[in-house]
Amino acid sequence: MSVSQATARTRRPAIWPPALACLWGAAVVALLALAPIQSAPDSGWLPILVAGLLADRLTLGQSASRQGVFGAAFQVGLATLCGPAAVLGASVASLLFKRLWPPRGFDGARWRAELLPAAWTALLAAVAFWGVESTLGGHAGSLSAACAYVAIQHFGPGALSQIGLGGSSFWPEARRLPSVPQGGLFLALLPLAAANVVLVKLDAPGLVAFALLPAAAACALVEARTREEAHYYGAIAALTAMLQRAHPQTNRHMERVADAAEEVGLRLGMPRKRARLVREAALLHDIGKIAIDEQILEKPGPLTHDEMAHVKRHAEYGAEILAPVRRFGPLVAWVRHHHERPDGTGYPDGLSGSRIPLASRIIAVVDAYDAMTAGIDGGERRAYREPVGEYEAVAELKACSGKQFDPRVVRAFCSALRRRGAN
């Protein structure tokens, strides 16, 4: 009852809530009022801290992107005016604040996940701030220093997790943190920089209000882009949900294949974005099985010729389903060809060698390995074959490399497996 009533009401999300306007107003007032503090930083600590906490508190209900943009803008201002120690103090205080009076959805796990990256990066950022400020000097120096500081604060956790030091390697919960679109940060830095220049050059503090317009525009842009992205990933999630309903035994298979395919792509030297696309293709590679009769797929014995032909059509069906979505453009061919073989005996088009897209070759290897090993620890074993162990599966991949699988992909996959085994 409640679900239908809540969802049936089509309500446009409020784009310009008064709260946001108040926040920006408060930020500008704080900037103006606290500008003289530059000469005497010790006196302005408390009001800025309070303002920061208040801002943090008020943006909590907002979307993650808005929080990120607002937080970055506020921190740049704070660091310019009072130095990095103030930002550090405000972040720590806000974390404590959230711990003591947790907002909805903010549990202990999330707190732990946020604390560590904050601590890692704060130190690094502070060093960068003092370094830049003392090299450049003056107003330009402190502004650039603040930008560097905040940039490190925001990009630091991601960069650290790349080299294996991020929060997620210690607390898996950190993966759940909503990621702020990073372009928004720079958009938020611009208005602050403008405000600063105007303040200094024109000696007309009222003009700082100009900073509001770009900042608001940045917020709107980040929000619109976030919604667009959410729709894209939602479409992928909905399609996989359809497949899982149709074939419940494929449940975890998709995710495992997607993880492995992305890793193999990276190992083969694909750029990060491309590897992400391969991941999405791997998630959707069997989407055409929606149109295949489950009883045939789960049939224990060998399939008749007709049944085999029916099952083989899933590659074409998959491409057909993905074709209407323009953003799935490259994925269509990859999904269509994920059962081609380098020796040209695959289906549906009998492509051979390098005419098969690399992504399809990756998916073929990863999919075969997962299908062979699936069900070794119970659960989703396939009706038509006994699960085999990891070693036998790797031996099989190597035996078929060159004929059924691309040798380069098989090598990359095996080294990825070894690394995973070592960890």
Binding site: S4, A217, A238, G288
Partner: protein, 220 residues
């Protein structure tokens, strides 16, 4: 001094451009993407249930005409059309063979139960898409009976979204029409007015169908 003013103007101009992009360009692109993904979903359904081919087009057509007949504002009909296309997305959970080959009279109890869950399953799939949340609500109720107290898990009567009521009449009529022909289908729908279907919509359907026949006769 001059440079500072230039910077101010530059920022003002660029932020206006940015606002236009964020408020006009991106949303219209998102709209287009919603359409595209809806087409992908209905393609998947069509491939899974070739039996249904043509029914969906008929349902969409009837829904649009009914909405027009009721004087529904055009911005709401978009949602109705999407809901009409995606209404049966939950049917993926019903086995391929049951829907495509087995006559309804031979279905087992558990197959029937699975079939009756399809509006709910469909809604849960659409809930993955934030932009289609309201459509999920329509899909969830698209087989809910109109009559009071017939099914306590759903709202009844006017508390049902109007889109769901339209969709129920249109989709069930289209299915009957395909199986039994126009006259019997309309009789079956009129029989259920008040209990299964909203009476206002049943009379609307009759008007739509009559005008359809007039339309067919007119060019001859």
């Amino acid at each position: 001094m001059e440079a500072a003013w230039t910077i101010v103007l530059l920022f003002a101009a660029s932020s206006v451009a940015m606002l236009w992009y964020a408020k006009r360009v991106v949303p219209s692109r998102t709209e287009a993407r919603i359409e595209e993904s809806a087409r992908a979903f209905s393609k998947a359904l069509e491939l899974r249930f070739p039996v249904q081919k043509g029914v969906t087009a008929r349902v969409c057509n009837l829904c649009m005409r009914l909405a027009h007949e009721l004087g529904m504002p055009p911005e709401r009909t978009t949602g109705l059309r999407l809901a009409a296309e995606l209404r049966d997305i939950g049917l993926c959970a019903v086995p391929h063979r049951v829907l495509n080959e087995k006559p309804v009279s031979e279905w087992t109890q558990s197959e029937r139960r699975l079939y009756h869950r399809h509006p709910e399953l469909g809604a849960s799939m659409l809930a993955h898409l934030p932009a289609l949340k309201h459509i999920a609500g329509i899909v969830r109720c698209h087989h809910a009976p109109f009559g009071e107290g017939a099914d306590p898990t759903f709202p009844s009567g006017k508390a049902l979204p109007i889109e769901s009521r339209i969709l129920k009449v249109a989709s069930e009529y289209a299915w009957f029409e395909r199986c039994e022909g126009k006259e019997i289908a309309l009789a079956a729908i009129e029989n259920g007015a008040g209990t299964k279907y909203d009476p206002a919509l049943v009379s609307g359907l009759r008007r739509v169908l009559t005008s359809e026949r007039d339309g067919e006769r007119a060019p001859a």
